[in-house]
């Protein structure tokens, strides 16, 4: 009697063991998948077959020299404006959080102005700076003139575009970076203080690496909007990707195919950036629970000779 109950007990334990459970097939989900794929394929087919998209023309112009030059300008402007914007944004963020009233209010004023006005207006202002200040003069107060420039020589479409884009970007990046710095535990700052680290070293080695976890995702967002924001510079005659395709369709009137060329290039760049962002996020997640490989390759320390 006892042995049979033990046996049924064991049988039940095997039967009830969740390790042996199997999942019933989810027919509804398969059906939904099939339907969605069908609709997507159908849509792609319609777009591909529609002669109004002018796919042969897209193919013909896709890697044309002037388009590639425009693409180069777009990428170059993005990299330069984003780099300057981030660097200046970091300075602004640190100044904004400073105990010093002067620094924090100056930084606040900058952010208020450059976030508060449209980028397009800022670009046009920079481009037309010479109407406000025809000459830029460097001189000592009440002293001799050291150097002077004609503003029109100084402000080319290129410098106006870089100034406009990076100053605007700096204001947004400052707020993103400030948010990241605030997300770091107060105890970390205290530890760096207690060890007598300088403020810059503490930021570089301890605070910023931890803040990066919350800085990277919105920065990826900013970078992608920056790539598209560079298309605004076409209003100040800067030959970026959009300006280049506009140049072509103003001659050939193939508006849609040429815009498709630009759209596909923009999509390719943003896709690559998405992948890169994924790698960067994984890098800064190290030390987090469940973040990839647990241990680093062990460090071998040789005895000092």
């Amino acid at each position: 009697m006892a042995s049979t109950s033990a046996e049924t007990g064991r049988a039940e334990a095997t039967l009830r063991d969740v390790a042996n459970a199997h999942q019933p097939p989810e027919w509804g989900r398969w059906l939904l998948w099939a339907f969605v794929l069908f609709v997507a394929a159908e849509f792609a087919w319609i777009v591909a077959r529609n002669p109004n998209f002018g796919w042969p023309i897209v193919g013909q112009w896709f890697t044309e020299a002037s388009i590639l030059r425009g693409l180069g300008v777009t990428l170059g402007l993005t990299v330069v404006a984003m780099t300057l914007g981030t660097a200046l944004g970091l300075v602004l963020a640190v100044a904004r959080m400073s105990q010093d009233r002067l620094f924090s209010s100056l930084s606040g004023l900058f952010i208020w102005f450059f976030r508060g006005t449209p980028l397009l207006v800022q670009l046009i202002f920079w481009y037309n700076l010479s109407t406000l200040f025809p000459e830029i003069v460097l001189k000592l107060p009440f002293g001799p003139v050291l150097a002077s420039w004609n503003t029109n020589d100084l402000i080319t479409p290129m410098t106006a575009a870089i100034a406009g884009l990076s100053l605007n970007e700096a204001a947004y990046m400052a707020e993103i970076i400030r948010g990241g710095l605030l997300s770091v535990d107060k105890g970390q700052v205290e530890a760096t203080d207690a060890f007598g680290m300088t403020r810059t070293r503490a930021l570089r080695r301890v605070i910023i690496p931890q803040a990066m976890r919350s800085i990277v995702p919105p920065t990826g967002n900013q970078l992608i909007s920056m790539i598209k924001a560079t298309s605004l510079v076409s209003v100040i005659a800067m030959a970026d990707l959009l300006y280049s395709v506009q140049n072509v369709y103003n001659r050939t009137f193939e508006v849609i195919p040429m815009l498709m060329v630009a759209v596909i290039w923009y999509l390719i760049i943003t896709s690559i950036l998405n992948v890169v962002q994924g790698f960067i996020e994984r890098y800064y997640a190290r030390g987090e629970r469940g973040a990839g490989s647990a241990d680093k390759a062990p460090i071998r320390v040789e005895e000092p000779a």
Binding site: D185, E190, A191, V206, P209, Q210, K296, V301
Partner: protein, 263 residues
């Protein structure tokens, strides 16, 4: 003060230290000397100001009256002629470099491995050669019994292990003075022992230590002197036998009796 040589200069000298947060006066005139090599355990109920006092010693908190001196230098200020002047942030950072600190919440750098945590200050602040600092770090990890965890990140360690790494990190700068701010208060009860063992070893090796804690047992075994604080003042201090065995002040007696009830 058994270990201290007669006539030696104190490592820490605090005189009439006052500190308030807004209108709330937390320290109401603390006087304390700690001699080189001495292990001082500061006991007291929550809110007695003992942690605040500890944090004033390396100027994590500024004080409003009185002065504190560490190793012959006034903390946070300097005499220029006969005018007392505030030190710059950088000069204060330099002063802190001879003081090791262990926090209640460990405060290890989560993005660095145990070994990287330990060598950060020696290499980055004290400009030691990396290889030398790593060798010493491994030696310290062995001393706290964590040789095999050199490449683990803090999240992969238990609370007790993290605190032992934090102690090794503080020792790596070869401090003249070690401050422990409730080092076992954030730990699960079964992990307290391993941390106290490490601290007991250190106490036996002639390191000057100030320990703020609730561990009466540790005070009894490892302290040269026990300081009992309540309401922002030092109520009484003396050898562990005297303060813990035969407390003179009713507030000390009350505190200790509550503690014994709990155990």
């Amino acid at each position: 003060m058994s270990k201290a040589a007669e006539g030696a200069a104190p490592m820490v000298r605090a005189r009439n230290v006052h500190k308030s947060f807004g209108s709330n006066e937390v320290l109401k005139g603390i006087d304390l000397d700690v001699m080189p090599g001495e292990v001082v355990v500061v006991l007291g109920p929550s809110g007695s100001g003992k942690s605040t006092f500890l944090r004033c010693i390396n100027h994590l908190e500024s004080i409003q009256r009185g002065f504190i001196e560490v190793d012959g230098e006034q903390v946070g200020y300097t005499l220029r002629g006969d005018r007392l002047t505030k030190l710059s942030d950088h000069a204060i950072a330099v002063q802190r470099r001879k003081i090791g600190m262990v926090f209640q919440q460990f405060n290890l750098y989560p993005h660095m491995t145990a070994l990287e945590n330990i060598v950060e200050a020696p290499v980055g602040v004290h400009k030691q050669p990396r290889r030398e600092a790593q060798a010493y770090a491994l030696e310290l990890l062995a001393r706290v019994g964590l040789s095999e965890k050199a490449n683990a990140y803090p999240r992969q360690l238990s609370g007790g292990q993290q605190q032992r790494v934090a102690i090794a990190r503080a020792l790596a700068i070869r401090p003249k003075l070690m401050l422990f701010d409730e080092p076992t208060s954030a730990l699960d009860p079964e992990l307290v022992g391993e941390v106290l063992n490490v601290m007991r070893d250190l106490a036996g090796q002639g390191l000057t230590m100030i320990v703020v804690t609730h561990e009466i047992g540790f005070a009894r075994e490892a302290a040269d002197r026990v300081v009992f604080m309540d309401g922002g003042v030092v109520v009484e201090h003396g050898s562990p036998q005297k303060v813990l065995g035969n407390p003179q002040h009713p507030r000390t007696r009350l505190f200790l009796s509550r503690f014994i009830e709990k155990v």
